[in-house]
Point group: C3
Chain length 160, copies 3
């Protein structure tokens, strides 16, 4: 199965690739490397989760928010690949910002929501390194913001 | 117009490329990719802004601080390019750390100060992806710290 | 002297390359560039430092924690290089997250613990750019979390 078929099997439809909140573009590419801007937990055009982990947002809700961010990031990769997700050669890295109370320590469990979707959609090519940041404030008051870096196949390119 | 001419038209002079605060270098390069260390809002050798966004620093002051950080980052790119900014092929990414009160949500408006300067100086080549982090503490108590990644032309190199 | 000999001269033994806390891998590679996931101050399988800089953790303890994170990161690079650290061509970048009280400003002094170990082990090839983030919360309550990006020699590869 290719990534689009795996998404379908998971019952997931790709959302529209969202525009940024400011004077920037949703992703940039250098050679084979695509890096996204911050991906929010958008669902049907509205933010599905708001608030602080460890306060009004539970770890399970955070997991779902991270998964939704990852789905939005896949939509950006799809856009960067001209609509052909099978050109994603490797998801290299996920970076997640989490809005938490100061004594929160379950960052890894939350961000697994994004990591596990990448594994489920891209298989071995979805294995990635990861960074996590417990932030003090967040645009839109979102509990999760996700950045993805991926290596993609480009026409006529060879692996560097 | 080239980037140096655009800077002149904006009435901006490049500052000295600032040294880091510790045991590191202001930028590193791998192949065509240059990445800067954190750029502060230095002006004539002193920090032009200090304090927390949403408290003692307004969104408009934050915008100006971000713009000043970007000017300092351009000085680093100029250094990385041996004094020839026309070798900047693409500004790939801006990453901004903002020192804010916990309920601050206007991160995008602040960081636009950096993004819009990149657009004004580099034109289409200044379009970039972006990351923003609402930090809890900051070196020097600066409200903004900016990192820039750019693709530059190197002698005898081909696009990877 | 090569990096392994410098480590021995410093009296340092490489720890086991630690697994991640979640559904991710400890490092990923694209071409010649290796990027690690977050490295904690592990020592003999337990976290050597816990708590917040400026509160229960001093700057000197933070320096030692950062140095220990860097040693764990070198173990990851060693793994990525198949056990031959002399294949590390350049340490490109260190990114450090520090758990601090809100008015903490000595981030650079703390992160120098990591930077100076890289210089001592890799010499000129250990010179790097750097990013620092004062976070509001941290996995495991660690005072320091470190990410390293390095350029390595790969079989049959030429500098891009």
């Amino acid at each position: 199965m290719n990534p689009a078929e795996r998404l379908a099997e998971l019952g997931l439809a790709l959302p529209m690739a969202a525009a940024g909140l400011g004077a920037y573009v949703p992703w940039s590419r250098s050679g084979r490397i695509v890096t996204t801007s911050g991906q929010f937990p958008w669902s049907d055009g509205s933010l599905a989760y708001r608030g602080r982990l460890g306060d009004t947002v539970s770890v399970e809700e955070g997991y779902q928010a991270a998964r939704l961010c990852a789905l939005n990031a896949i939509a950006q990769l799809d856009d960067a690949c001209g609509g052909d997700l099978s050109r994603v050669a490797r998801v290299l890295r996920l970076e997640g910002s989490l809005l938490c109370v100061p004594d929160f320590v379950d960052h890894a469990d939350v961000l697994n929501g994004a990591s596990e979707l990448m594994r489920d959609v891209f298989g071995v090519a979805g294995l990635h390194s990861r960074a996590v940041t417990g932030v003090a404030s967040m645009p839109l008051g979102s509990p999760v913001l996700l950045y993805v870096q991926a290596e993609i196949d480009i026409e006529g390119s060879e692996s560097p």
